[in-house]
């Protein structure tokens, strides 16, 4: 994933599918936030009753913190205005959410670090931010729920299953040896680069009525049967991972490490993509959440790499769409995982730093976990998120059971009928089948160049 409009998270994602670029970006950002505000207001009102449980949380005096403002900057599917508003309400200081696309965000963290307080970082971005010295280590002791964070992140395992490290797994990017260290530390320490807050396992979305059979393997995306009806994600660092999963699935190549390809592997992958493009396999490539929804809903494609809330958005339009369960088999397939977390910028100190820790702690206290669960994303501390979900929501989203009743999205719009089961099954079924993570390769510059060859071919 990793693109700006991935999460408008509304049931009506049409319209604002604007992508980057000067004025355009500013305009669409405004539009987004205005709408999110409206819908968010309803959600906040609805959740007000529940929020009392986490009142009295701040340990610094209200008088001193009311002038503090935290600027949380990042991609829209991770830095959500409704969540910031709720945090501000619970914590008593001001929280401003600012949305940028992935590459604009990392560029801003690096070139204007002082204009950001909380950086929204993916694992690979945490690695970069640490390397550039723009973030400070998070003192693990100060994170109240740290011990309850799933070991996927803190220890690189879950339920006795080792989390694969193709690409940059959150665990791999999680620790540094000292608060000001610039290199990642392999192994648990007292200092974290970022605090995971939202993640998921991505795969392929398809129209079951038009594809005609159940899709469980990535190779279906490059099946000539779907010539001119398939699409792939055009964010090079992620698109190439999806492509690699396809080619591996089709038995065309075996990668040493998909997440960090050699030049030869990059060449093979991009040449194969160019070949497929010339044969007319891809109807389009997409870069934003909305585009992927439009492609599927408008009948332009029947199968494409996709994000979970986008599949839901297509279904809300009463168009059948399935998120393929691509469980690992024969050392192939598997989901592509991603995780966004929060990093503390280096310039934070004193009361503002205290407030930032309060903010981090608030994130893991459950309200946010409940919110993101309602559009199919996971919390690193499901035990607290559970308190903010109805038993029906918990059963549907986390346990993979048939929904006992109608399931609503975060803004209260009905999303899934009673009896529906989540594609891919339970939380454990899905995350244990993650086979690689979003990444930034050592050969990123070369890969980028080859990806542009594919684009211009």
């Amino acid at each position: 994933m990793s693109d700006e409009t991935k999460g408008t998270f509304t049931s009506d994602p049409a319209g604002t599918g604007a992508k980057t670029g000067g004025k355009a970006n500013v305009k669409s950002a405004k539009k987004l936030s205005r709408r999110t505000l409206l819908k968010g207001a309803a959600a906040v009102a609805g959740a007000a009753a529940g929020s009392d449980a986490i009142r009295g949380f701040p340990t610094i005096w209200a008088q001193e913190i009311k002038d503090i403002e935290l600027r949380h900057v990042g991609v829209s599917y991770s830095v959500v205005k409704a969540i910031g508003d709720q945090a501000a309400k619970d914590l008593g200081f001001k929280v401003t959410m600012q949305n940028l696309d992935t590459s604009a965000a990392i560029n801003r963290f690096i070139s204007q670090p002082n204009t950001v307080d909380i950086a929204d970082l993916e694992g690979w971005q945490a690695k970069l931010a640490a390397k550039r010295g723009v973030i400070q280590g998070i003192e693990v002791k100060k994170i109240k729920e740290f011990d309850n964070i799933l070991p996927i992140f803190t220890k690189g395992e879950i339920d006795g299953h080792k989390i694969p490290r193709q690409g940059i797994s959150p665990y791999e990017a999680m620790y540094i040896a000292k608060p000001d260290a610039t290199d990642l530390n392999d192994g648990v320490t007292e200092w974290a680069t970022f605090l995971p807050q939202v993640y998921n396992a991505d795969s392929i979305g398809y129209r079951p009525d038009l594809v005609g059979h159940e899709v469980t393997e990535w190779k279906d995306l490059i099946d000539p049967k779907f010539k001119g009806k398939a699409a792939i994600l055009d964010v090079p660092a992620i698109g190439i991972m999806d492509a690699a999963l396809c080619f591996e699935s089709a038995g065309l190549i075996k990668y040493g490490n998909k997440g960090n390809m050699t030049k030869e592997e990059i060449d093979f992958t991009c040449n194969k993509l160019i070949e497929l493009k010339k044969q007319g396999q891809f109807r389009a490539t997409w870069t934003t959440f909305d585009q992927s929804v439009q492609l599927m809903a408008a009948g332009e494609v029947v199968i494409q790499s996709m994000w979970s809330p986008a599949v839901a958005a297509v279904r809300v339009k009463e168009i059948p769409c399935v998120y393929a369960p691509v469980n690992v088999k024969n050392g192939k397939e598997g989901y592509r995982g991603w995780c966004n977390g929060m990093g503390l910028m280096k310039h934070l100190s004193g009361k503002k730093l205290d407030a930032a820790y309060e903010y981090l702690n608030w994130y893991l206290s459950g309200w946010q976990g409940g919110f993101v669960a309602r559009y199919g994303y996971y919390s690193p501390v499901p035990s607290t998120a559970k308190k903010f979900l109805t038993p029906a929501e918990w059963a549907f989203w986390y346990e993979g059971q048939p929904a006992p009743e109608v399931v609503n999205d975060p803004y209260g719009v009905a999303m899934e009928k009673a009896g529906t089961k989540r594609d891919g099954g339970s939380f454990l079924d899905r995350v244990k089948n993650i086979s690689c993570w979003n990444t930034l390769m050592d050969e990123a510059a070369y890969m980028n160049k080859r990806w542009n060859d594919f684009k211009v071919a």
Binding site: K131, P236, V456
Partner: protein, 292 residues
Amino acid sequence: MQPSQTPSRVNFAGWLYVSPLVLVLVPFFVAPILVVLAASFFATDGFGGLTPGFTLASYVEVLHSALTLKLYLATIKFTVLTWIFTLIIGFFVAYFLVFHVRNQLLAIGLFLLCTVPFWTSNIIRMISWIPLLGKEGLINQVLLAMGVIRQPLEILLFSDLAVVIAYVHQLTIFMIVPIFNSMARIDKKLIEAAIDAGASRLDIMRLIVVPMSKSGIALGTIFVVSIVMGDFFVVKVMSGGGSASVVSAFYEDVGVLQYPTAAASAVLLTLVLVAIVSLILRTVDIRQEITR
């Protein structure tokens, strides 16, 4: 310049005249471009770190890459196609407004009508083509219903055609305005005289209207060429990601923090554009035409 003024007063007044422009251009144009220029000579660790210094490595890489050539060819293809269509449409719209609409008020009214699409953002204008051109879009549905085609035409959307359509739609106004402006200056008596002297419509067009609209055509060309060559967004959306442009390629470079190569590409593009614009200015002396 008035010859009666003393040189120092001329200088002072001259500087005063240009100062607002200088105040805008220096911080918002000259300074950033110098930063980009400097960055293009720096070395990088590949992860966003820049080492001040002087290396031509980025230029060597950009100039040695077959990709650069392909990108320029793709971009120039879009530029030329867009230019041709905006020029033809823009010229005739302006011609109609100036020479066929007798009522000046009506002409101005129609001229303003041409700007109506500009009341919404260019993103909206571009995206609105999608429901029209798509597989299940209006055009395909009509053609299918009429039995003209059996399968929906895929070439309408997510293709080079779609890119050119969007550009032409967005940029024709940049041709209409300057051409309208220069045509409006043509003395109607001149045309009447030509008719009286037995000139055909083609002769009038060829010998009077076109030569006297040159400055407008040149200005419009500069607008269209520089906008298309500097764009990546229309290409990205309307080609469905199927095409790239010079700018989209170095935007991706910035995305993976390859600042020096992105900067070198940007400098190269600036040089190419400067060359094109000066070529246009060399062909048409806009300053002379405007102050005519």
